[in-house]
């Protein structure tokens, strides 16, 4: 598989899902349990991605400048600072710690 294959398959899948919502009669996902699972699936995947992105280096768990950067980001989101500002500050914190260390 090349990077282009991955991109094409993933894009086709996500676009197909969007079309399903608009073209297929509502039914299955309108029910309570599937709707709840779809909702929680998003939460679980995002949380797992945060963990891997913050602590993972390949198959190792490494605590480094990313951890304080994420803590600062969480504090800023709690203060309702806009997304793009938080992302930039998180990068700055990690870059600053690495430059000093």
């Amino acid at each position: 598989m090349t990077t282009w294959h991955i991109i094409l398959i993933a894009s086709a899948a996500t676009l197909a899902l969007k079309l399903v919502g608009h073209l297929v009669p509502a039914g299955f996902l309108e029910r309570e349990r599937p709707a709840r699972i779809a909702d929680l699936l998003t939460v679980a995947l995002l949380a797992a991605l945060i963990a891997v992105q913050t602590l993972g280096v390949g198959q190792e768990i490494v605590v480094d400048a990313r951890v304080p950067a994420l803590i600062v980001a969480a504090a800023l989101y709690a203060l309702r600072v806009p997304f793009i500002v938080v992302v930039a500050v998180a990068a700055l914190v990690a870059a600053g710690i690495r430059a000093l260390g």
Binding site: L19, A48, L49, Q59, A91
Partner: protein, 256 residues
């Protein structure tokens, strides 16, 4: 998106047809432009992170044009950044699973955006495809927040189109920036990716159940990282959502 907004929208849906609604529609346009422009800006971070993950500028722009759903886009490049092409299967699966919520959004938006032809009783297929293409968190949220169906339709289209145009332009800008800066770790872009995921997760944590799933999924992903191929820990963590969602565990309102 949570059940409260969906319920609000159902309750508000009956208001259609009273007065000409011009004021509601111009409010909808204002809401849409505010949300749309704010959202479009962070295409810069996607573009930069995507190039940092090893995608080229064409591949990065293709994702924003065709995939066009932020969570899946960030996830795809995030998994590829940690596992490379070998993690391609996991990258596709993660992006696709994050796209499942768009099915739910589409079902909620269909009756609002469908402009049914009174003679044939059917909506235009092209309009439906366009609507599906721009069905994302923000266009759905703005539409559901409007007081009646006509304002909701305006909100959906203006938000969706504003973000589509803006997101693609800022993706290109971000990709060019990412291409120019070279060593992405020194610039803290790996931490920026984590902060971006946190920003997508944050508004979904209002309920206790969601918070519990987030913590458990993060723990599972961390614990399985040393023993599984890169990309797989995220998929394993998704099982948490299926188990908790199926049995409706931890279902109590957060009281703070």
């Amino acid at each position: 998106m949570n059940e409260r907004t969906a319920a609000d929208a159902t309750a508000a849906g009956d208001g259609d047809g009273e007065g000409d609604g011009a004021e509601e529609r111009s409010t909808a346009v204002r809401d849409s432009l505010a949300v749309g422009l704010a959202t479009a800006i962070y295409g810069v971070s996607f573009g930069a992170l995507s190039v940092a993950a090893g995608l080229d500028i064409w591949q990065t722009c293709f994702l924003s044009l065709v995939m066009f759903t932020g969570g899946s886009q960030f996830a795809l490049v995030g998994v590829l950044a940690s596992g490379g092409v070998a993690a391609g299967g996991s990258a596709i699966a993660t992006a696709a699973m994050l796209g499942i919520r768009n099915v739910v959004y589409g079902m909620r938006m269909k009756p609002i955006v469908d402009d049914v032809d009174p003679t044939t009783g059917r909506g235009s297929i092209w309009r439906r495809i366009a609507a599906a293409w721009v069905t994302i968190d923000e266009s759905t949220a703005v539409a559901l927040a409007q007081p009646n169906d006509r304002a909701a339709r305006v909100g959906f289209w203006v938000t969706g189109i504003t973000i589509f145009v803006g997101w693609n332009l800022t993706t290109l800008a971000g990709a060019l920036i990412g291409d120019a800066i070279g060593d992405t770790r020194a610039w803290g872009l790996d931490a920026a990716a984590a902060a971006a995921f946190l920003g997508l997760l944050w508004p979904r944590l209002k309920r206790f159940q969601a918070g519990a799933v987030a913590v458990a999924a993060a723990v599972v992903a961390t614990l399985t990282t040393p023993v599984l191929m890169p990309g797989l820990p995220v998929l394993v963590a998704a099982v948490v959502a299926i188990v908790v969602g199926w049995f409706n565990l931890f279902d109590r309102r957060r009281t703070s």
